[in-house]
Amino acid sequence: MVSPILVIALTLFLAFSIPLLHMLSKKLPPFVPPLATLINLWILITNIKHVGEGAMLITTAGLKPPIAINLAIDKFSLLFAILIQVIGFLLSIYYLSQERKDMRFYMLFLLNILGASGIVMTGDLFNSFVFLEILEISSFGLVASGKDKKALEGGFKYMMIGAIGSSLYLLGIIVLYLSTGTLNMAHIAKLMPSIPDSVKLFSSILFLIGIGVEVELFPLNAWAPDAYQGAMDEISTQLSSIISKTGIYLAARIFLTIYGGLYATNIIFYLAITTFIVAELAALMQKNVKRMLAYSSVGQMGLLMLILSVFAKRGDVFVLTTAILLALNHAFGKGLLFLSLGSLTGNTRNYDIEDLKGAGRANPVLGFLFATGVLSIIGMPIFFGFWSKISLLISIMKANLMYLLALLLLVFLVELYYYANVIVNLFKGEGKKYRIGVIPVSVMLLFALSLIVFGLWPHPVFKIAQNAAASLMERSMYISSILGGM
């Protein structure tokens, strides 16, 4: 067994070794991220069988919780950690084929992965804030690393709002710490019944805003379209596939594990619905495909939050499973969309829908990839998205929210409208042909194939998601496995 703490340590080490390697040879830095993520992946996979019912505890400095800094990994976090490494690995492979960037870019990238993995693995609330800061700051850098003004603008907006969000998050931690005297998640969770209601409520509102920025909830998500649009395509992938998923993880962990249910559930519920509808409507009128995808991303995140709040209303392992399925579908589908969109525009950063005309017909492989992403996101059968969407609807039906079901179906129609418009546009008339390398295509094909294969045979993914959901649901198990018999 290799300790998962190495994931963090190694990534950190490799990230800071990049400048040194850069001195040795200018060709080396691009190869560091794939190496790091691959090793991480290996470490995590070897740990799969060690993660049992509750959470696996990894302590540092030989101290036991609730005092020390520690990692607490259950199946839910492991799933997200693996997801992050997989997508990180694929993306870093993708970077190999791109023109070489400044070495600081690779550093930021690795730090980003580090932050994300840290968040999903840590068992300490303050630690999670530290990792969140690492994640956010590196993301600002990554978003702003694009070549044009838009990137800077997006990065700036993201930073402004992200900073406020994380400070409110910190405030929430402080409030909890004041009333419990501990920062260990499991411990706080255990002490939760003893905290006065007003403190609970206040801290949960602070967390809601802090995390709400990250998961792009309705009034807090104004940065998202600009950041997605401004960032380079791969960074957009990272935003939608890694960073926002981390936000979802955080939301689930804090609200479900620590609070044992959503406080202000109704607010989140309605906010999530509003997020979804507003984002889809905004996407409907969008002529810029990338911004459209950004809005759609926001909408999907709204859907995820919606399903979490539905779970909070009526606990059912199936609903959580659905949330995970949705997250997976969105991570792969949207990632694929951003990547292939970049190639379809020939990396010209001109995303106007009119200029994409015929691009899919001229580049059938890219067209296929983009179409796969779209079809999976809108939940067409034989793609993985179908199962996640069906599960979503089943969950909502189980929660007996038939009007919501009808509303969602209506909005799905809107979603289909703009997506179908793009698809149709891609395949009409004659477009420009672009040359793309083998590596990017194979990376994208991996994304696409995973969507199709698991669409045709969703059994294994269901199983994994179900296990992860079960472990997230077993709050007492989590607490007892961390704190022992305390």
Partner: protein, 603 residues
Amino acid sequence: MAMFLLLLIIGLTGLLAFILGPIKVLRNIISLIGAIGGLLYFVFKIRPGQAYALNIKIYNVHFGTGMSALSIFFGIILLGLFLIFLIASFHEDNDGAYYMFSFFSLLGALGVLFAKDLISFFFFFETMSLFSFLIVLKGNGETSHRSAFKYVMWSAFGAYAFLLGTFLKVNYTHSVMITDISYLGGNIKLWILILLLTPFMVKTALMPFHLWAPGAYTDSKDTYTVFLSGGLSKIGVFGYFIALFNVFSQIAVLYPWLLKVFAYIGAITASLAGIYAFMQDDAKKLLAYSSISQLGYVAVGFGVYSHFSVVAALFHALGHAVFESLLFLVVAGVYYRTKTHDLRKMGGLIKKMPLSFIGLLFGIIATSGIPPTIGFPSKWLLYEAIILKNDLFLVSLVFFASITAFLYSYKLIHSIFLGKLHKEHEHIKEAPFGYGFGIVVLLIPLFVLGTNPGIVVKPIDYIVRFYLKPDLAYNLTNMTTPLGHVNFPAIGITMTLLFTLSFIIYLIFGKSYRAAQEDNYTATEWIDKDFGLHYGGEFYGFMRKAFGKPLTWSFEKILNACLKVVSFLGEIARGFYMGDARVYLFYIILFFAIIVYIMGGKL
């Protein structure tokens, strides 16, 4: 298991066809083997009452033919038409993906036939819609993207309505299987029924839901239209049957008015689509409207809801599969040679493409419902059924629709085959083998079933008898209803005899010689050889004056108004994200303030 294997065969063949895409010969052979194998497997292995459940963790996908022999009835239509489409499509310039998509759409359609639970029904229905959408998208028309877009939107509209209905049903009955819901209390069962019916109304293009059909039929590749119109629309018919009989068996008792509405929608669709059809100048568009019109009869048959009206509806569905495919196939063959669908640019092709002409001739005869072809028995049954249901206005409307059939049929055959041959078509040949094969094959059931409808009425009756009290007496050649009686071969034999007689009269008198193309009575004026004598454009132009306004009515206008509202909402939503960083900060502060205000009491 057999059903699952069949789907697997079809799917794998599609995949192979895609992989072998560049090697044309091999690809064609593989797909042919797959299609023929599928048909044979279907005929020999699939039996009523088989069932199979496929477990994918959360759902069990239930396959089965237990519903009735209906699945088998439609399955044979689908696979047969697919084979015909496939053979003809080899003449077109298609890539591997095209074949994969078409195989997958077939797979979806077959899956729908086999599905026993509503979610797998939806799964396969969506699969079918998706891949037929992709094929329409690959079509050769200038506007194929627009049509494909409409197609997918309408399909999705229907599918989502179906999904909502499904979940309502599951919510109230706690069963995902296709089971009866008529015992449910309240009006919820009505909503479920209507929602479940929506996709089939879309698929068969009933009037408010028909807007996708003309475009999709026109702009998909010619040979695929054969399958799309003849084959896939049958899924809609199948769906009606399932929804009306398996899901809601008590409809005639509980909501007779709904049936009436349904029947009238069908009749109005048949009439209006007929009128639109004869105003078209594009061969495929004309046929598309004709297809819509013909499927209107099917809806009428279901709406009348008596034993032999349903028999008529199913028989007409079969007939539609035969003659509409025949018509589309002929037009496809003509397009293959002339590269046009425009009725104004063709004419006189009878001299060059006699087999196609024969195909089209009998196709339109069947479409118009003239005996002794396959179009007649169903229409006859339908009329009698409606009169027995005491609805004389409905029967008049249906009759009106069948008159419009004469109009568009004649326009079609005249503009393509009769009249003056165009100069640029002087050297074209008969349509190649694939088309000819399909035409000949389709002509067989056209006549055999037209004179011996008992062959098919027997299995249909066996299906329908289970649900409705039988009051139709029939054998191979005769049918008797409480109103009347027909001996189908008698009509055929009489006509043949009298034709022989008239032909003899024609032969014994006088000689005739062949007039040259330009030898016409033109008020004795000399005309140039290339002079456009062909009367193709504005064929029923004067009807614009007679009908006036109704021809300009369109459901599309209502739809556009709805879209405007949605876009307005979209503009508002987009406006939210148009600020700069300060505005966004303001949002957060405002949000914080509001939440604290709302929650303030609890703090």
